[in-house]
């Protein structure tokens, strides 16, 4: 089962590796990881996406809580969180197929951030699952390169 954790940490060297080590020692891979500043100076937010068993996750979150640099930890659940991600896709785009690709992009709200004779670089901001759908849609055209920032999220302003 996939889980998204949002961890507020003091901006200190090693804070991130202390967290990721707790997954690594149990053999869990981290699907995505995003780290950045927050509204508080000296405090960063780490957003982690992992696929791990419920019981392991409970143990790992308790261990994360105990880390000296960790201030707060919440699990973001789809119903109660706003989740976003940015992706860049370089897609093979011979002139005869550009029309279709542009239609898909328009439908998904992806923008063209660079245009070449043989390929288009799309940028897309959206819910991670929408990014997945767009990716699937353009894959048959040939994705030359792709990068995703990793999921970020915050609790909703209005909770369900």
């Amino acid at each position: 089962m996939k889980h998204t954790l949002s961890v507020l940490v003091e901006d200190k060297p090693g804070a991130l590796s202390r967290i990721t080590n707790l997954f690594a020692r149990r053999g869990y891979n981290i699907d995505s990881l995003a780290v950045g500043q927050t509204e508080r100076e000296g405090v960063s937010r780490v957003t982690l996406r992992v696929d791990c068993a419920e019981h392991s996750l409970e143990q790992i979150t308790k261990q994360i809580y105990k880390l000296v640099n960790v201030l707060k930890l919440t699990e973001l659940t789809p119903d109660d969180a706003v989740e976003r991600e940015i992706a860049l896709f370089t897609v093979a785009a011979p002139p005869e197929r550009r029309g279709e690709l542009m239609a898909f992009a328009d439908h998904y709200g992806a923008r063209v951030s660079d245009l070449g004779p043989k390929e288009i670089v799309f940028e897309m901001v959206g819910h991670p699952e929408d990014l997945d759908s767009f990716e699937e849609l353009v894959r048959p055209y040939g994705i030359k390169e792709m990068v995703r920032t990793g999921r970020i999220g915050l609790s909703r302003a209005v909770r369900h």
């Binding site: 940490v9 003091e10 090693g14 590796s17 080590n21 308790k62 105990k66 000296v68 640099n69």
Partner: protein
């Protein structure tokens, strides 16, 4: 504020923390701190340094010191190999929750990451086995970092921390002022006790027919032994103590039901197995205690008193969790029980008498033979020290350790110092030296094996030179005995690489080379006199090695085979049942 170097600030910080003894080995990247120590001592500082012969020894000494005193142990080493040699001790302290501050030198900040001479990423290597670590690159950060290090090591569940300090930070100057508080917004170990949970616990305790208290090392670390004793006596509930919890509840108390686990007493395991309520206090359901978890105390509800939230429900589902420091939690429980206990209530008499039957039926047993038996030696040591309240035991790891657990009588906390979680062979001698440094008035006896002794015996030199005399009772059975036992029982007697017999080393000569008095015992008739002399020589300030040549075939029983449950326990003489067990 006083102007001084970072190295001076390290020493001043240790003094400010009330450290009286630290353990270590100097080297290039910590030389300035040792220079500061030298100057401080020349100016009358009371800070004492014990020069170990290996950094691992320094680490175990700091552990022995911490376990014997309840204070934070301090180990100092240089960068690179100094730091890596400390790692086993750090891991050991991590597993047994021993408060330790390790200070290591690091290459100058400008050289970090260049593979400089004796550079190693100490904070990186130790990352999974410390509560926290700091890389200090500025002299002005030293006082606050050391303050924080001591705070983290001893608050919440105690454990090791590392402070890695670069050479340039030691050399540079700062205005020294030791902070009076720590700034650690993310470090909030539990402090309060949830009264509602206490009320539920008290109710469950009074409702139970077959309750058992399962007390671990946390009772000792959490200074809750007095409360545990009161709890047992108030409720009449029997107590088992784990290997690291030994001494947290008096071994000779009528309510003591021994030690549970793989080589614990059969009656202790039966009591847990049949219990309807297990009150776990500062214990972590270690696999060497539970065996097969699903068959462990299968009919019991569980109350778990524990300061570390991550331990609650980790292995065993808990019905009443109480995450709090143990001493105030047990004190509150006692208060609640006094309110709830009806006038004239008696303890679980039927249950107690059942356990008493098991105690009679399944005592620890061994058979005498032509050769000296390890159990015989340990009984003789126990009897030679009976009635004394100034004995501290230390052990290595293996068969001798299990026999020490079974046969030694510890009635006070901090009197049995052993490597439980990590199972570090060679822990005994340096831990004993550290314990002696903490408690110079005590008689410190290390029960060791010949495998262990060869790993760390050099620290007897430290004992001799630093006036920290210990007694080593060497159970010399000529094998890496516990591995040999498994090879005999589970590997069709293929004794792969466990044989230590042969003409060398000459243990008596080794001991003498380290400045210790040596005596070799091969027959039981010599035991009492040898031990009497050992104790006298030790009291006169000498370290002593009693080299007891024992039967190499002797195995530790009872034994719950790995992965089995209490129901499958093998008793002494039931060796053939192993095959039967394996056939199932």
């Amino acid at each position: 504020m006083t102007r001084m170097t970072g190295a001076d600030a390290i020493i001043r910080s240790l003094e400010a923390e009330g450290v009286d003894v630290c353990f270590g080995v100097p080297g290039g990247m910590i030389i300035d701190t040792y220079d500061a120590l030298y100057r401080a001592q020349a100016n009358g500082s009371k800070l004492r340094h014990v020069l170990a012969r290996h950094e691992q020894g320094a680490g175990h000494m700091a552990e022995g010191y911490a376990r014997a005193s309840g204070k934070v142990g301090v180990a100092i080493a240089t960068s690179g190999p100094g730091a890596t040699n400390l790692i086993t001790a750090i891991a050991d302290a991590w597993m047994d929750s021993t408060p330790l501050v390790c200070i290591t030198g690091q290459v100058p900040s400008t050289k970090i990451g260049t593979d400089a001479f004796q550079e190693t990423n100490a904070t990186g290597i130790t990352l999974p086995i410390v509560k926290h670590s700091w890389l200090v690159q500025k002299a002005s950060d030293i006082p606050a970092t050391i303050k924080a290090a001591f705070h983290v090591a001893q608050t919440g569940r105690s454990g090791p921390v590392l402070v890695d300090i670069t050479k340039d930070a030691q050399v540079a100057e700062l205005d020294f002022k030791y902070p009076d508080h720590v700034d650690l917004p993310g470090w909030n170990p539990p402090r309060k006790v949830n009264q509602r949970q206490i009320i539920s616990a008290a109710r469950a305790i009074l409702e139970a027919d077959k309750p058992v208290i399962y007390a671990g090392g946390g009772v000792i670390n959490g200074e809750a032994s007095a409360e545990l004793l009161e709890l047992a006596e108030l409720t009449g509930i029997p107590v088992v103590t784990t290997l690291t919890g030994k001494g947290g509840f008096p071994d000779s108390h009528p309510l003591n039901v021994g030690h549970p686990g793989m080589h614990g007493m059969k009656y202790a395991n039966m009591a847990l197995n049949r219990a309807d309520l297990v009150i776990a206090i500062g214990a972590r359901f270690d696999d060497r205690v539970t065996g097969n978890v699903s068959a462990f105390a299968p009919n019991a509800r569980v109350i778990h008193f524990e300061v570390d939230a991550a331990e609650i429900g980790k292995i065993r589902e808990v019905q009443i969790p109480i995450c709090a420091p143990l001493q105030p939690a047990l004190a509150k429980l006692l208060g609640e029980l006094r309110k709830q206990i009806p006038e004239g209530r008696e303890g679980p008499a039927e249950w107690i008498s059942k356990i008493a039957e098991w105690k009679d039926e399944f005592p620890l047993r061994y058979e005498l033979g032509d050769l000296l038996k390890p159990q015989q030696v340990l009984e003789a040591v126990r009897d030679a020290t009976a009635g004394r309240d100034d004995i501290i035991w230390a052990t290595g790891v293996g068969q001798h350790q299990m026999w020490a657990m079974q046969y030694m009588v510890c009635d006070r906390p901090r009197s049995f110092i052993t490597s439980g979680g990590l199972g570090t062979m060679g822990f005994g001698v340096p831990a004993a030296v550290g314990a002696k440094a903490a408690r110079p008035d005590a008689t410190v006896i290390c029960i060791d094996g010949d495998g262990c002794f060869q790993m760390t015996s050099k620290e007897l030199t430290t004992a001799t030179l630093h006036g920290l005399p210990i007694i080593v009772v060497l159970i010399r059975n000529g094998y890496l005995g516990m591995v040999r036992q498994w090879q005999e029982m589970f590997y069709d007697e293929r004794y792969s690489q466990t044989d230590l017999t042969g003409p060398i080393p000459d243990y008596a000569k080794m001991a003498e080379a380290f400045g210790a008095v040596a005596m070799t015992v091969t027959d039981s008739s010599e035991l009492d006199a040898a031990l009497e002399r050992a104790i006298a020589e030790n009291a006169a300030g000498r370290s002593v090695v009693v080299d007891a040549v024992c039967d190499s075939q002797e195995k530790v029983f009872p034994m719950i085979p790995p992965g089995a449950s209490a129901a499958d326990i093998l008793e002494y003489g039931s060796h053939e049942k192993v095959k039967e067990f394996e056939a199932r």
